[in-house]
Amino acid sequence: MTGSSYRSLRPGSPGHAHVVLGLLGGAALLFFVAPLVGLISRVTPGHVAAQLGSPAVRSALWLSLEVSLVSLAVSLVLGLPLAYLLARVEFPGRALARGLVTLPMVLPPVVGGMALMTAFGRRGLLGGWLAEIGVELPFSTAGAVVAVTFVSLPFLATTLEAAFAGVDPRLEQAAATLGASRWRILRTVTLPAIRPALAAGMALCWARGLGEFGATITFAGNRVGYTQTMPLAVYEALNTDPEAAITLGLVLLAVSLGLLVALRGRIGGR
């Protein structure tokens, strides 16, 4: 409506601004691209084939996918209701709850892993009770899922919280006047409205989970075949065979990029 009048207020020639923005933007791009190019320049197709042929690497890769995808599923099941609660329901301590949900994003993951240990470890607060019902998390694949979920769930929850808060209340009100129950409104109006954010949040959550290192190694340990995901395998290789570590890093990168593009394209739907 006012677009044309805004445009007329802009200076006619971009002049220096574009040059400055171009230089800074280009520098930023170079900053991200250079390490990738560095990684690629050190690796030959032969290296990649050799690494992918190694059972240890294949095991780490599959474990990474398994752990990160299970964690994504857990994050969805827990994160959707959590985000809805934080965005829509007024309850005492909501501000604190919001802070707590964001905390793992700023906490060093190693500290997160230690915290998980004090809660769910063998001698942790809930460890005894968990052991009684036959659940042992530390140094198990389930523990790796817990560690990854702890670190990555906030990415999904915060994205979805903003999306829930941004849904036009008139749409949900219209559905209510038409007789729709809260569940039906959620299913037919609210969730479809947040679909783009759901795709973005899932991609972020999953990507963060795939790269998770600190909380996993602290809480779940570094057991080949059980908790040694790709980032842990890269770390171990760095100590013994730096060339292999670089190749593994590149493989992780390629898989991440491929899945991110696929996930966002599939669920975003536009």
Partner: protein
């Protein structure tokens, strides 16, 4: 079937105190300047804003009787055409119209057949499979009308139903709306508008709101004969 409203509602620092009745089949225009309380009245009757005190009775059913005792929007049988229509963007046109029937447990096939009949009645059957985002203003308005009427509400609320349309679409929309509203002889219809031409064309009675109070109430023709009763209020908007 009739409507009896005697309520006080508050929204922020604004208070709305309104008392009126309307008989089934009649169309009442709610007019007044911006901030008069027209949209608040719509929201109160739809059950979207609670009343501070008072009652709303529709066809013998208590919609509101005291602050804690009120029917949820879902249980009211009140149809609303919102000012911005609020069509569901993720659902196609026929699904939008069928929505209220589906919410009442009607099978999909039946609900869609009924929705198609309503779309045909409003002259937009060919839009059935479109997304709501592809519709023109006039088309969207017809779809919203069909969506609200398909569940046979006892009270139909229309918030500025044609003000968003351009001048060309307006005359046609007004004529169509007049015909549709006249056909609903069992329904109480309230039309919020700031356009006196719309009020004259669509309604037999006019309720003028200003500052949350009713400042004039009477037959449209009568009020038009002595517009001084309400024009001062209208101009301030």
């Amino acid at each position: 079937m009739s409507l009896a409203v005697d309520i006080e509602a508050r929204r922020g620092g604004f208070s709305l105190v309104v008392r009126f009745t309307a008989v089934a089949g009649s169309t009442v225009a709610i007019v007044g300047p911006n901030g008069a309380g027209k949209s608040t009245l719509i929201d109160v009757l739809a059950g979207l804003v609670p009343v501070a005190r008072g009652s709303v009775v529709l066809a013998g059913r208590m919609l509101e009787q005291a602050p804690g005792q009120r029917l949820a929007p879902q249980a009211r049988e009140v149809g609303v055409v919102f000012q911005k229509l609020a069509l569901f963007p993720a659902i196609d046109v026929v699904g939008n119209v069928a929505y209220g029937l589906r919410a009442r447990g009607v099978a999909r096939r039946e609900a869609h057949a009924e929705a198609m009949a309503w779309l045909a009645r409003l002259g937009v059957a060919e839009l059935a499979t479109r997304r709501t985002g592809e519709l023109s203003g006039g088309q969207a308005q017809r779809v919203a009308l069909a969506r609200a009427m398909i569940v046979r509400p006892g009270l139909l609320l229309l918030d500025e139903p044609i003000s968003a349309l351009d001048a060309e679409a307006r005359a046609g929309a007004r004529a169509l709306l007049k015909e549709r509203l006249a056909a609903e002889t069992e329904v109480v219809k309230l039309v919020v508008t700031h356009d006196l031409e719309d009020a004259r064309a669509l309604a037999d009675r006019m309720l003028v709101l200003d500052g949350g109070r009713v400042v004039a109430d009477g037959a449209v023709d009568e009020l038009m004969r002595d517009p001084s009763l309400f024009l001062a209020a209208m101009r301030r908007g």
